[in-house]
Assembly symmetry: C2
Homo-oligomer: 558 residues x 2
């Protein structure tokens, strides 16, 4: 991994990724012209390959940046008229993607997402209307390039950043956001828990090209010096409004932690591992009543609806170990999240559902089935899950295994896990490893789901590999810099970039070279096509067919 | 990752792994006493946890080593009498684990493997007799600690080492072998293709505590200066005997590459990617006849039988890209490997079958079904497979996803892939990353298969995590050094090793600490057991039950 030095305070990583450049495809929408971002990879053949790109202007050549002012707004269009929140609440008028979709309106955000994913705007609208997809876009966050999260679309990944009381600065966190989106993060969650929470979030929001999520209870807890039992609805409400005003696009809310579920977690191997979940559990036990999140959920919905902020209903009782996977506490809370989903939708608010955690492979697919059944098809957003507990230091890998499987089963967005999980706060290099690892899991799932276009990149890279177009192989990789660095460790010379072998086998043993020789040999003998080769084989094949295509008989009999 | 410096020429890494020590459990077997190796992890609670250990004497405290003489022999016992190779060949007498098992004999190797896996010797014998498991143990390789490969046993992993014409020395390769087994490699394959092939192999064999595999065609090709078309049966035969005499335990033989299958691979995206496969294809095309491996297969079997060397029937036509997965060429060869399996078994030779390669997740499980059906239940030994082609530099991860899934489906041994795959020769750090990554995939599969004892380690580590026994959490990890290093990056002080938080959340936000507070709170109020807690909840619960356990009603109605 390239250990890129941290940029000086206040600056961030910019410039194109290896042999590619930023492009914008212009798509007309009514009077508007939507500029859909993509990254164009330039191949040595003169062709190019375009990929979905979340990195914003930062990967352009010499981008004009003013971090203090923030990015130029993308969503400059007017919002559509308010429409009824739902059939249940026809008199409640809101301006949310969900309500508009239900009303049959295709918003610029929907058209933008459709163009970005190569789907029809009507399809995007229908998925949002059904609640199977969400577009996280706070009306106060005009800087973002709209994206969609749903099982019918490419699997998305989230990167968590944020300082803690123990380490890291604002400048570091802003750079982590730019760095994470450079490598493919589709959303960012700011989980800051230390000082300057508001300030850190402001810097991230104003400069992020992707939706930003938070867990508001963390900031609320700061306001009561970290004593969960001193939390009140008023403090939480004030915090939510503050963050909605700032432009946060989605919020994790642990409203499903009910008093009667807490005993179910008491004798687990790892108890309650969700920070938000343990905070609410402490509050409920102390107050001996249901949480202020649960009891004021309808009001909470109406606040989020005013900004079109999306709920990410948190799994406060998710399992934190293989032993606790799929247990009663987890399932009880999931059912409650399903009930809250209906309430939120009835008030026009979009909903995602958060999932585990730690789950062995054989218990993974049923998690998606339960979530889709009980939570009415809301997009599932899972943390891994880790497929084993025994590899701290490698939990990006233990969780990539679970993440790929749960995404194949229908999870819409994967929250990354870095090598530092369970051990410490990820640094810049950990963030990159986490993002690339989760791009792998998400793409593997897109392939398994046979998502349109997913395999094109695999085919382009493999073709380059077979043709010894090393530069193209690197350029088409998720992380060209690392691929190039590894190759150059043993064969640094530029000629090696066109050599028909690598140091793994050496020149004499390169199977791809020999494989090419086979083709050349066939060509020399006028057998360059499969048909011709087969014809050339025909006589020989006939002999074997006569022997019933069986193994050379004398061998069997001797 | 700890970048351990390469030891000086001729020395290797020795000494115990963090907070553990080597033990041997003595198991009587007839007049013999078998010494079964294990690694005992010492916990701060005074308890200990024993794990399967492949590292040999190297992880003992100050082991007495003489690399030039090699390890002291473990298999000092006499071999049992020769028995009939099979019902088909009753007059052919051999001394192989397969023939003995069929004759009802339990060998010391079988008893050793049984004790090591915590199974009954009779069960091991029956699995070997059925061909569902193999014990790779050349009679000329007495230094190894016997191990078993089969779907009924713990999933095993292989680490490839070996120098190429381009890089690395003998000393490096011996250290890579010791290093790979230190971290958990169950077998080693020496894929050397450069100079000193015989010498390198001798050093590795004499010093390896685990079975060693090779691909003899590589050395045979060296003897004809790398021109596949100059290969002959005589040269190959001489090479095979040389390696059998040396003590190689299993050999990859690409006898399934038939002339008529070659056209099937000609129009693939990546053609033939197996080195052995492409070598044989080139030979077959030039000679326009079936390979000498195929035509002399029976004689080959009889040579291997003399030493009890196991076949690893190679998949010379395995797919080298997502596009080529599960294609006609791959399947045609697999069927032929099934026919060769019956021939080998009929002559008393043990067989494993090698598998892909590159396969998207949705096409993985059927590979195991085909292999088990067509190859009569022979242990499957796969290379990954990679679940996507787009991440060179991270193919340990792209393949760990596929490896975990294919092992869950029944694959017995996984050949590791390092971060350098497709780019260069792995160095010492790459070998460690590859091994740990594959231990993760194998263990995740053992959990998914609900293998006896598999979850015990997850539970022990998670319990240590919840109780903030940091040292125990590190010690129980697959790679304690890296876990410790990552933790210390942000919280180096020794007190932090007992602190009830980590830098990830900081003291105020540690969910596990808060979770403990919840338990303490419950205890203070006489609610320390689940029952008591539930009792304490009863009144409150009653109210909710009265409301039909539904969400707070006014919310729904307002």
């Amino acid at each position: 991994m390239l250990k890129s030095a941290l940029p000086e305070n206040g600056t961030v990583t910019t410039g194109p990724i290896y042999r590619s450049h930023k492009i914008y495809n212009e798509v007309p929408f009514g009077d508007l012209t939507l500029r859909i971002p993509a990254r164009r990879i330039d191949l040595t053949t003169g062709e190019h390959f375009d990929v979905y790109d979340t990195s914003g202007i930062y990967t352009a050549e010499d981008p004009e940046l003013d971090l203090e002012r923030g990015l130029a707004p993308v969503r400059t269009w007017e919002r559509a008229e308010a429409v009824p929140a739902s059939e249940e609440n026809p008199s409640l008028k809101v301006q949310t993607q969900l309500a508009w979709a239900r009303a049959g309106v295709i918003t610029p955000e929907m058209a933008f997402c459709a163009a970005r994913e190569g789907m029809a705007p009507e399809f995007v609208r229908d998925e949002v209307a059904a609640g199977r997809a969400v577009i996280c876009a706070n009306k106060n966050h005009p800087e973002i390039e709209p994206m969609i999260i749903g099982k019918a679309f490419a699997v998305k990944i989230n990167a968590n950043i944020g300082n803690s009381a123990v380490t890291s600065s604002i400048a570091e966190e802003v750079e982590k956001m730019v760095w994470a989106t450079r490598w493919g993060a589709d959303t960012i969650m700011d989980l800051s828990t230390g000082k300057d929470i508001h300030e850190t979030r402001e810097w991230i929001l104003r400069n992020s090209p992707v939706p930003v999520g938070t867990v508001p209870i963390y900031q609320a807890l700061e306001k009561v010096n970290g004593d969960p039992t001193r939390l009140t609805w008023e403090i939480y409400r004030e915090t939510i409004i503050e963050q909605c005003e700032q432009g946060v696009d989605y919020m994790t809310v642990h409203a499903g932690v009910l008093l009667r579920y807490i005993p179910l977690a008491a004798n687990r191997v790892t108890g309650i591992v969700s920070r938000g979940g343990s905070i609410m559990a402490a509050w409920c036990l102390k107050e001996h009543r249901e949480s202020f999140l649960y009891e004021n959920f309808a009001e909470l919905c109406d606040i989020l609806a005013q900004y079109d902020v999306t709920f990410s209903l948190g799994d406060g009782l998710r399992p934190g170990s293989i032993a606790d996977a799929n247990d009663e506490a987890q399932l009880a809370e999931l059912k409650t999240l399903g009930e809250l989903t209906l309430i939120a939708r009835s008030r026009g608010v979009q909903v995602m559902i958060e999932g585990p955690g730690h789950v062995p492979m054989h218990k993974i697919p049923v998690n998606v089935e339960w979530e889709e059944d009980w939570c009415h098809g809301a997009p599932f957003y899972t943390l891994g899950p880790l497929a084993t507990d025994i590899a701290p230091g490698y939990d990006h890998i233990t969780s990539a295994i679970g993440a790929a499987m749960i995404a194949q089963a229908g999870t819409a967005m994967l929250c990354y896990v870095t090598p530092k999980e369970h051990l410490g706060l990820p640094n810049r290099d950990d963030v990159k490893v986490g993002v690339i690892t989760y791009k792998i899991a998400a793409h593997a799932a897109d392939l398994a789901k046979q998502h349109p276009r997913a395999q094109e990149r695999d085919d382009a890279l493999s073709k380059a590999r077979f043709e010894f177009r090393w530069h193209d192989q690197f350029a088409l990789a998720l992380d060209p810099d690392t691929a190039l660095e590894y190759h150059d460790e043993t064969l640094p010379a530029e000629p090696a970039k066109t050599a028909h072998f690598c140091s793994m086998c050496g020149p004499k043993f390169c199977s791809m070279r020999i494989s090419q020789d086979v083709r050349d040999y066939a060509a020399e003998h006028g057998l360059e096509t499969v048909e011709a080769l087969e014809a050339g084989m025909k006589e020989k094949s006939a002999e074997f067919s006569a022997a019933g295509d069986r193994v050379y008989l004398p061998v069997v009999e001797s």
